[in-house]
């Protein structure tokens, strides 16, 4: 399920005529004059690019001269997209020169943003209790997850246990993702300044978890980012349990072990399962230490396992898992037009 484009149910006293006017105004407000003018005589060839946006660094993956090119910037330059404020990527900015030059970012370019920020929300929900064919309003979010904070100021998406749109198949376990509206709008405005648009804003843990599940359809998955730790148990690619806890640098591996023990009370077979640890933020050595500290056997996801032609991504050797995660994110979003 997703927040639909359909108009909200008309409140009492609101005439259908009033709603029609609002729809017309919305249509005119969003009417893409410039896009139609630029593509009047020729259908555009849409190019997709992915960008990881974190508080302290940014990386980008998009085709350059027909080949995927990865660029990682370990500091936020002027003109880079910001999650907590507006930013304009003018052609004279340092960020444009370092990351966007030569990538053909224009009206026919769609962005898939990967974000990792503390305000991201990941909750396990039981969608079967509620009617899923209705709009995912803040009220319904609070009904699904009463503990979800800032429901009214966030965008929400509900996926099923196979990390697909819940409309395709309703599963007992669902995953609710939330993101602050201001952060998403900052990214949209940044993209709009270049004439491009945003195809999706995806939480980094979602992509890493999806990669981990594709490697180990059944087992324990531990996704570590600088802002989140996501622990999930899957069976044949279907999530049975999922939770989000504080990042490991705050909690330590022992807290993860505690969580796994809690899981074991519901699913005793967890103790016999191996855990897969996936991260693109933490160094391999640190991950290895955490793996040792866990109470169950664990393996680290390596770039070699994720190879889906990573050799075709130029510049991926700097941060291979990050580059492959961006590539994976591009595959998860349908191409526009």
């Amino acid at each position: 399920m997703r927040v639909s484009n359909a108009p909200c149910t008309a409140p009492t006293g609101t005439s259908p005529h009033h709603n029609e006017n609002k729809e017309v105004l919305k249509f005119l407000y969003s009417y893409p004059w410039k896009f139609y003018l630029k593509t009047l005589f020729r259908e555009p060839n849409i190019v997709s690019g992915a960008m990881l946006v974190k508080e302290d660094r940014i990386s980008i993956l998009s085709p350059v001269e027909g080949r995927l090119s990865f660029t990682a910037l370990f500091k936020v330059l002027e003109g880079a997209p910001l999650l907590n404020g507006p930013s304009r990527p003018g052609r004279d900015t340092a960020f444009y020169s370092a990351a966007l030059s030569g990538r053909g970012v224009n009206h026919a370019f769609q962005w898939v943003f990967l974000v990792d920020m503390p305000e991201l929300q990941i909750h396990q929900a039981d969608a079967q209790k509620y009617s899923i064919d209705r709009e995912l309003t803040p009220l319904r979010v609070n009904q699904l997850v009463p503990s979800a904070p800032k429901a009214g100021t966030s965008y929400w998406e509900l996926l099923n246990a196979k990390l697909n749109p819940i409309g395709e198949e309703v599963t007992p376990v669902s995953v609710l993702f939330g993101m602050p509206k201001t952060a998403a709008r900052n990214l949209e405005n940044w993209a709009a300044f270049l004439g491009s648009y945003v195809a999706a804003v995806m939480p980094l843990p979602l992509v890493l978890l999806e990669e981990s599940i594709s490697l180990s359809p059944t087992g324990i998955h531990i996704v570590l980012t600088t802002n989140h730790t996501v622990i999930a148990m899957t069976q044949e690619k279907e999530i049975k349990l999922i939770t989000r806890v504080e990042p490991i640098h705050r909690l330590g591996a022992s807290r993860i072990s505690d969580t796994l023990e809690t899981f074991a009370e519901v699913f005793p077979e967890i103790t016999d399962s191996a855990a897969r640890i996936t991260s693109c933020d933490l160094p391999v050595a640190e991950l290895a230490e955490h793996a040792k500290a866990l109470s169950i056997a664990s393996t680290l996801t390596t770039p070699d396992e994720l190879q889906r032609g990573a050799e075709t991504i130029s510049g991926a050797s700097v941060s291979p898992i990050e580059a492959l995660s961006l590539d994976r994110a591009l595959c998860l979003v349908p191409s526009c037009i």
Binding site: N5, K26, Y29, E157, Y197, C336
Partner: protein, 199 residues
């Protein structure tokens, strides 16, 4: 595969919808066609206004000249009528038989009949120069006398009218108004003949 517009605003999803939906794209084509027709109509209107401003003085001059000609025509209407009449009478005038020739013909008839003498000849013509439909209408009344002799005067008058018929134009009509009858033994028997000739 996730839905398009995952965790984005409604506006962003609407932009995607408009970009990918052929119906919305068609609205732009309609808009462009409408604007082009407006521009074309504007150009056509402008051209008409420009053309009108150029032909305006010429039209005004023609109108003034027309008024002047109408005034002149009303001033000289009588002359024009006369000219029209003369024009219509011209074929009649050119083909008419002059009165002198008619009199000569009558004179010939008298010479052919030496017993017949002329007392009076009246010649009337109803031709109206001001009537375009007028005709050359001659009425000739001959008053004469026949010298008494052995021959019957009535026969002499018949011969005289026959001579007139031979000498005058074919369409002439000859009527005897007063026959030459002998009432007393007079030396001369009077008679009257009317000749009508219409051209």
């Amino acid at each position: 595969m996730l839905n398009y517009g995952f965790l984005t605003s409604r506006k962003q999803r609407a932009i995607y919808l408009y970009r990918s939906d052929k119906f919305y794209r068609a609205t732009f084509a309609v808009l462009i066609i409408f604007l082009l027709t407006q521009i074309f109509a504007g150009f056509a209107g402008g051209a008409l206004v420009l053309l009108g401003s150029k032909t305006g003085p010429q039209a005004r001059e023609n109108q003034l000249r027309n008024k002047s000609l109408v005034a002149q025509e009303s001033q000289r209407i009588s002359l024009i009528r006369k000219l029209e009449t003369i024009t219509s009478l011209k074929p009649l005038i050119t083909t008419r038989i002059p009165a002198a020739r008619l009199i000569r013909n009558i004179e010939g008839a008298f010479l052919a009949n030496d017993q017949v003498s002329l007392t009076e000849l009246k010649l009337l013509n109803g031709f109206n120069h001001n009537d375009p439909n007028s005709k050359d209408d001659f009425t000739i009344i001959i008053s004469g006398a026949i010298k008494h002799s052995d021959e019957n005067p009535t026969i002499v008058l018949r011969n005289f009218t026959k001579s007139l018929t031979d000498d005058l134009p074919k369409d002439s009509r000859i009527d005897v108004l007063r026959n030459a009858t002998t009432e007393r033994n007079e030396a001369f028997v009077p008679f009257e003949v009317k000749i009508r000739y219409v051209l």
